[in-house]
Amino acid sequence: MSVTQLGMPKVFHGSGNIVADEPFPDFARRELKNEQLRANLGFATHTIRSKRASVVGELPDWQELRTAGSEIKQRVMARLPELLEQFEENVTARGGQVHWARDAEEANRIALDLIRAEGAEEIIKIKSMATQETGLNEYLAEHGVGAVETDLAEEIVQMGEDKPSHILVPAIHRNRTEIRDIFLKRMPGVDPGLTDNPPELADASRRHLREKFFRTGVAVSGANFGVADTGTLAVVESEGNGRMCLTLPDTLITFMGIEKLVPTFEDLEVFFQLLPRSSTGERMNPYTSLWSGRTEGDGPQNLHVILLDNGRTAALADEVGRQALHCIRCSACMNVCPVYERAGGHAYGSTYPGPIGAILSPLLTGVEDRSNNSLPYASSLCGACYEACPVKINIPDVLVHLRGKDVDARHGKGEGGRKRRMPDQMDAMMAGAKAAFSNASLLSLAERGLPAGKLAAGRKHRISKLPGVVSGWTQYRDVPEPPAQSFRHWWKKNRQNGTRQRPAGERADVEAMIEANAGLADELHERFAAEAEEQQRAADRAALEAKVEEKEEVQAGVSRELDAGGDGPRDTEAGSTEPERPKPAAEKIARAASEEAGPGSDLSDKGPGRADPEPKGNAPMESEEER
């Protein structure tokens, strides 16, 4: 844990798997070259986007729900210490035990002690981001305790000694053949004739896990929500394996970030509506497990909750940044994010990828921890994340806020009190622009240089190479030829401003004009909406079909390479092979399989704004929501 002196109260920053070791742009550059990953991500994000848009569009009160979710979380943050104590009281009163962990290391140690007290050498786990954050599995392994992930995608990641790259689809970067190979190598007692057929893979996983469920005495879970006034914990998942973990073992240890609280049981109602539609694009979540303390003779008899801070109070102390703690880990922000879609989850270097990761990781660790200061810049600030977020976290605002903190820290100001570093090109560029933009006469003078730029553009009327820090621009684009004169200079020659002040009587009543035109924009919109939206749907559908084709083409290329014994980039269908739960899982697999066979045909009547009871092609997305 790093402790930062802030004059007075100490800020305890988080540790564990929440720090990027490599700057985002560098990691992203490599990932962008992985055609398979890009094709998978492009297809998966577009599919889940339209699915989410369609189920969200069904609810007339979606915006009110978002507001309610956001307000509940604001209230939680305002009263966090008090609510945590209330939660502890209620868990204890119902026969559970609450443990407080300041950071990742402490949380892991507490868990290890509890596991050792039970004499267990192996535990089963429900997919949990809190334990990924603390690196629990690795910690337990170091201390001789095995941890078995029971979420299929998570199991694949674990067996492949890999890192998850998406909250919902942790193994999105893997293809079926790789999964088969991983199973063959790592799954005890697996049929050596296993093929890469999704139902077979699911079956292998089911058999393997069944045995673990019956044999293992300790389970570790995360929690989606903790209810202060009842001490209830909630886990939301879609496979059913989670419920096995929550009910079969004798001891249940739950990791919960302290921000996961809601004040009352009734508040859950809001989140149970927001979460499934935002994350998997489902109307209702398949498996929602709630438990309030211990029930004699039914389910786990030893219940523990480890409350994890790990930098959350530091985030709470940041007035702008604290809203990041509202996050319910639905993954909507990453699914709509154009940067995530290209760079993928690993580039964020943390348990938390995508837009939320770009703010949460630096908030937990402090913006200057290793490469976490590159994360707030990993965004074009397009705002798609904020628009999608079910609890209205204004991610773009927090990104900009954290950029400000980073610049301050680099300049020796504010948190961290690092030594001021030498001004770099960016500083120089900003200082120059500041001078010109603070003073119109200076800017006007600078604009006299435009003809020189025109000259530089030459006969091709464009500039194809810029130097230094802005060279990145001309890596992918030209700069147009500058004009012969600026608008300012044209105006001076061709127009004259009237007097600075006018007689009062000449002023227009703008408010009255706006009032008179109220509704005009809607009328105008209505005039074209039907036709435009129809055409838009057709255009989007064509684009999605192109994505499917692209994905297939890349996959075909990979298969050819594999047949030839090559080792090219691989495809993923990780989440498509759902284990457990025969019925829904079987359906999903069938869907995934049919998508494999001929995906284009499944997309015929999809599009935003249209209710689609059984949308196809999203099977790879299905996994569990997060705790």
Binding site: P338, V400, F437, S471, G472, R500
Partner: protein, 266 residues
């Protein structure tokens, strides 16, 4: 009425034709346009890059430039810069502990409109052909810039106005809600990701078969146009104000490769 033009720094220096088109449209409607001479930039590049201290004098400059002149409304041919006035300027002033400037910034922002909002909501323009004489017989596609869409909630004002131009045919752009990858300094700080984004945008534009792509923010259009140019594409970009300003008598010249639209009027 009297309308103060905020040209924005990038239009002023790189795309004066867009400011001139804006002046053209407003004067055609009989309004007086002034150009407060002290103006420079909204400060967005500095704010979005985290240089809050450097942004402060720029904010002060803008607020002063637009407070010392008397006008009814201000207008800018940019969704992004208008959004920045209301969204970022007060924050920057407060960050510097200057409440008076923060409030003055809120006042200026409250009176500054993005062009399409001014045209529709204040001036009641819903038919560019009839009310502005706009004529542009070309097949065009339209990119909706993020800040106009998500921060200003402009909805379809810009594209709807474009649709009412005589002779124009609008081809819907696939994935219209996707960012073009500009993002200010993002475009060179994360050049590879930004480059991948604009490559997809360009592919979508080319798939429409239109030879022109319009939009409401020249920064995005410069990004898109720059990538098209690098690719050797014939597709050109232009601001929608230029389309609205084009008339039968004084048509906007477009690159020779742009095909003339087949539809007759609207």
């Amino acid at each position: 009425m009297r309308i103060a033009l905020f040209s924005t720094c990038i239009v002023d220096a790189m795309y004066p034709r867009v400011a001139r088109a804006t002046v053209d449209i407003l004067e055609r409607l009989g309004h007086e346009v002034i150009f407060p001479p002290g103006q420079t930039c909204c400060s967005q590049m500095h704010v979005n890059s985290g240089y809050f201290d450097d942004a402060y004098p720029i904010v002060k400059n803008h607020v002063q430039a637009f407070s010392e002149w008397d006008y009814d409304v201000a207008v800018a041919p940019s969704g992004s810069c208008v959004a920045s006035l209301g969204h970022q300027q007060p924050m920057i002033a407060r960050h510097a502990g200057d409440e008076a400037t923060a409030e003055a910034a809120e006042d200026v922002a409250g009176r500054t409109f993005e062009l399409s909002r001014l045209l529709v909501d204040v001036l009641g323009i819903t038919d560019a052909a009839r009310q502005l004489g706009s004529y542009f017989p070309h097949r065009v596609t339209y990119h909706a810039s993020c800040h106009g869409m998500r921060l200003l909630h402009l909805g379809t004002r810009q594209s709807d106005l474009v649709r009412t131009v005589e002779g124009l045919e609008l081809a819907e752009l696939p994935d219209i809600d996707q960012c073009c990858g500009f993002g200010g300094t993002f475009s060179f700080k994360n050049a590879d990701t930004s480059g991948a984004m604009v490559a997809d945008k360009v592919a979508n534009i080319e798939s429409t078969g239109a030879s022109l792509c319009t939009g409401g923010d020249v920064s995005c259009l410069m990004n898109i146009g720059g990538a098209l140019s690098r690719k050797g594409s014939d597709v050109a970009t232009l601001h929608y104000a230029e389309i609205l300003a084009s008339t039968r008598e004084n048509p906007l010249e477009v690159p020779a490769s742009a095909p003339v639209s087949i539809t007759e009027g609207k």
